[in-house]
Symmetry: C2
Subunit: 430 residues, 2 copies
């Protein structure tokens, strides 16, 4: 793998190249997605069944769209027993971590009768989208469902495209059941998002839609935003490893490749202050790639969006990591905690040489749904926060309002909102 020396110029080029992967640049699919949404809004179930026939080659009806208890039982019989065991272990960790994210209603009061606060309420009904297709990721089901469950959402429904045989893969069903999904519908694509946003005869309207998907799903989520809430729009996966001369090049190389294998648009970047490490990692990568089952994907991803960058010092390396704002950031340096204090932008930060990124994907407990493509500058990992909302609480006694009521009237009159002023004045008119 090629090694670059970091300069302001090379950095600008790299940032531009990475942003090409943005799911926000696919305007050409927008009108197609808009048409699907309009159709589902108008024709509801009929449109869903029609699209499922066309896009998934499956015959689904009002009688078969909902996964039955018998189908779930069958899935448990067919699923790999070892996988089920690991799912159960992972779920304990995921639940435990997310329980620590819980937020609570609070208030503060003064003795004159002022009470102010915030009431925290879970969302009522949430839709989780699970992609079908070639790759099936039960871990993704766990990560999308568990924060909603911990938040106390009343009803979690899932949609996922059926295979041509009208079935859903066993590991998806088992993961959904273990995580606590209430109902599963056999529908995918933009049509599933439209159904969740507006409701059909079979599928109830939800308050929020989460979960990854292809470009149609991403654009549909963006289009229905405002009618419902959505999670952040997922882009291709990324890893950035910040490493110095103390890092094990074999570990670093393996970790970079673990993200590169996700998809041709994935990005794997090493930023190091050690020229020697850069060279060793490059060699290890070349050796590993040959042995890995997904080598074609990995090679394309590395060619397009993989970089080994040599920085002149820690400060430059850290600044580059902050500018790229990677989904996953590993810090494999002498003093990882000290470096971490300087990190502003990253989805998840992995510290030290045994905190390999796949540990976070599957097992440790923190969510693997993370902001991609530079959006870690303003988005957060999927969390319990995504499944609650807050209401302000305002309570004033007469005693509390009286000394300030003229100020409020003054403010309202300055804004020429006389009915606002009136609603305060009437309370003291006698």
């Amino acid at each position: 793998m090629k090694i670059l020396t970091l300069t302001e110029e090379s950095k600008t080029d790299i940032l531009e190249n990475l942003l090409k992967r943005s799911p926000n640049s696919y305007g050409k699919f927008e009108s197609q997605v808009a048409e699907i949404i309009e159709n589902v809004r108008a024709k509801k179930d009929a449109a869903l069944f029609d699209y499922t026939r066309r896009f998934d080659g499956a015959d689904i009806s009002a009688d078969t769209i909902l996964v039955t208890d018998a189908e779930i039982k069958e899935a448990y019989e067919n699923v790999d027993a070892k996988l089920l065991e690991v799912i159960k272990k992972a779920l304990v960790n995921i639940r435990t971590y997310h329980e620590k994210q819980r937020q609570y209603s609070w208030f503060d009061s003064e003795e004159n009768g002022i009470l102010l606060g915030q009431k925290v309420t879970p969302l009522q009904r949430v839709g989780v989208y699970v992609p079908g297709g070639k790759a099936v990721y039960p871990s993704s089901v766990l990560m999308n469902v568990m924060p909603a469950k911990v938040a106390g959402v009343d009803e979690i429904i899932m949609t996922t495209p059926p295979g041509k045989d009208g079935k859903i893969c066993a590991s998806t069903l088992v993961a959904a059941k273990e995580a606590g999904v209430d109902r599963i519908y056999k529908v995918g694509g933009a049509q599933a998002i439209a159904a969740l946003a507006f409701g059909t005869e079979s599928i109830p309207k939800v308050d929020k839609i989460v979960g990854p998907g292809n470009i149609y799903v991403a654009l549909a989520k963006k289009a229905v935003f405002g009618h419902v809430s959505i999670d952040s729009i997922a882009g291709p996966s990324e890893i950035l490893v910040l490493a110095d001369e103390t890092a094990n090049p074999r570990f670093v190389a393996a970790d970079l490749l673990s993200q590169a294998e996700h998809d041709e648009m994935a990005s794997a970047i090493l930023v190091t202050t050690s020229k020697t490490l850069a060279e060793e990692v490059s060699k290890e990568i070349d050796a590993f790639v040959k042995q890995l089952s997904r080598k074609e994907i990995i090679q394309k991803s590395l060619d397009q969006y993989g970089y080994i960058l040599v920085a002149k010092d820690d400060a430059e390396a850290i600044q580059t990591a902050n500018e790229i704002a990677s989904e996953h950031l590993e810090i494999v340096m002498k003093n990882p905690y000290e470096v971490m204090t300087k990190i502003r932008n990253a989805g998840a930060i992995f510290l030290g040489e045994y905190s390999s990124e796949p540990l976070g994907d599957y097992f440790a407990g923190p969510n693997h749904v993370l902001p991609t493509n530079g959006t870690a500058k303003f988005f957060s990992p999927l969390s319990v926060d995504d499944f609650i909302k807050k209401s302000s609480i305002i309570s004033y006694s007469k005693e509390a309002l009286e000394p300030v009521y003229k100020d409020i009237v003054q403010f309202a009159e300055c804004e020429q909102l006389t009915a606002h002023a009136n609603s305060i004045k009437v309370r003291f008119e006698d």
Copy 2:
């Protein structure tokens, strides 16, 4: 004002009527907005100056787009001294309330060397949009800026359309300065949103855009979502008063009108179990409207989106409030706190007869930027939460990883992600 008895049927009609006000239904402006955004992205400042000439009739250049210290000084000389005093008082309350919303980084550790947590980081640069035009709302400046300030955002920039004379109104400038805005640019509309999202020669790209605006601004915010973060899309204002026979009809009527005056699309709804109160409030409204300066707006708003609804019992009244999910909810009943426990959906909840809605608009401290149009089902008031983001922290020692590494490998292999499995295996290959 007309009084309706609440039935399932009337409720469905009302909910449908209210949703007509959704800013998500204005598809026809979308292509216009898309064109403005593309132009600003391509031609940057030149496009901004051109649109400002066309839409605002003002000549702005690279030399004059940024509000100068001299202009701010002049604003202080021209602003109403009493308004400035009230702004300062309100700011103390707004700051105090928002400081209680602060979230903190946390971690939890186990003695085998596992450390998991979340790092909370403020956003780096935020853009606040402030509408120009007829109505000027310094309170809106305070409410949009203060949570960002309390969150610790490094740089808060504001954009607002200039008048034909190229000037910004004094009260906006003074409110911005008092709240702690770092820089103010004279540009409005979709072009301002595009500039904040993508940057121009004059205006730097921000991480998040907040603030209300007309339909062009709302659609532009939606279009750039993903490139930057945005607050929820603001619709027309709303109030719902839940009242029983103990309520003062004059207070209730005045409070309903305080929202109806905002705009013809605003909605004011009374839901009461008392037929007598319904009739008294109706009479008070008719009497008040005649005296109020914004009577034309109020009358149109009441005719289209105003309702007095009589419910058969508290449960039906409360359920209706939850289904409408109003921006502002007043509870004027014998036991407001008990009723509040049953409220799931509302932007801000005002308790008791002295907690008039304008108290919250201007003074009490909680934010007046609230979810509208039913979105209180899933969105929250603007808060410090909007200006921070989180990163997961994951640290495992060798001792911690060793007993579980085979589980992780198992999970990765079930998902056929062999490079993921490899990155765990290499750590234990000897």
